[in-house]
């Protein structure tokens, strides 16, 4: 399976198994973004549940195609807020037209 890890305007498609631990996902992200696993936090969206390193994806109901937010530790040692930028969706603009078709 794969999960979609998102931060700001970037999405990482990470291939993984349900039995993998969250820590292993962070190790994979470390290869891509050069941030130590301790400075990464993964949050299951849209529930906002913070995922625990020692538990598996399946344990925490993270399934194929799931969206997981990545946040990083800031200089003051706290984690940043979840920040996922969405595109200005043409679906929304279409709704605004009031169903003209």
């Amino acid at each position: 399976m794969y999960i979609r890890v998102k931060r700001m305007k970037t999405t990482y498609f990470i291939q993984c198994d349900p039995t993998e631990k969250v820590l292993e996902i962070k190790q994979k992200l470390n290869v891509l973004i050069d941030q130590p696993v301790n400075d990464q936090r993964l949050t299951h969206m849209p529930s906002g549940e913070v995922l625990e390193d020692s538990k598996s994806l399946a344990d925490q109901k993270v399934e194929n195609d799931a969206v997981v937010a990545l946040t990083l530790r800031k200089d003051d040692n706290k984690f940043e807020e979840v920040n996922i930028v969405r595109p200005d969706d043409f679906c929304q603009s279409r709704d605004a037209e009031g169903g003209s078709w």
Binding site: T10, F13, D17, P87, D88, F90, R94
Partner: protein, 101 residues
């Protein structure tokens, strides 16, 4: 499962500048991307592992990335449906045509 290597990923960039980092093998489901990444010397994309699609919107590009991964899973025997929202159909078909997917 598999070890993560940065060289094995590519970055696809949408019209709005959103980035999708995906497995190279998945990206090569697209014949167009395969040609860009494998033809020697002809594309700058091959060196940087980055491909920009000024004509493809973020929503469509994400759907395409999901399709690439679904396609790999399907090829390895996991037969599931690939859901497509009706409002995306036309734009998705145009992008698929361009990508030879």
């Amino acid at each position: 499962m598999t070890e993560m290597r940065k060289e094995d990923t590519v970055k696809l960039i949408s019209a709005e500048g959103f980035e999708f980092v995906i497995n190279k093998e998945a990206a090569m489901v697209s014949q167009t991307i395969r040609n860009m990444l494998t033809s020697p010397g002809s594309f700058a994309e091959a060196q940087h592992g980055e491909v920009t699609f000024p004509e493809i919107s973020t929503t469509i590009l994400e759907k395409i990335c999901q399709y690439f991964h679904w396609s790999l899973q399907y090829a390895s025997g996991k037969e599931t449906e690939f859901p497509i929202e009706p409002e995306l159909t036309l734009e998705l078909m145009m992008a698929a045509n361009y990508l030879h997917t």
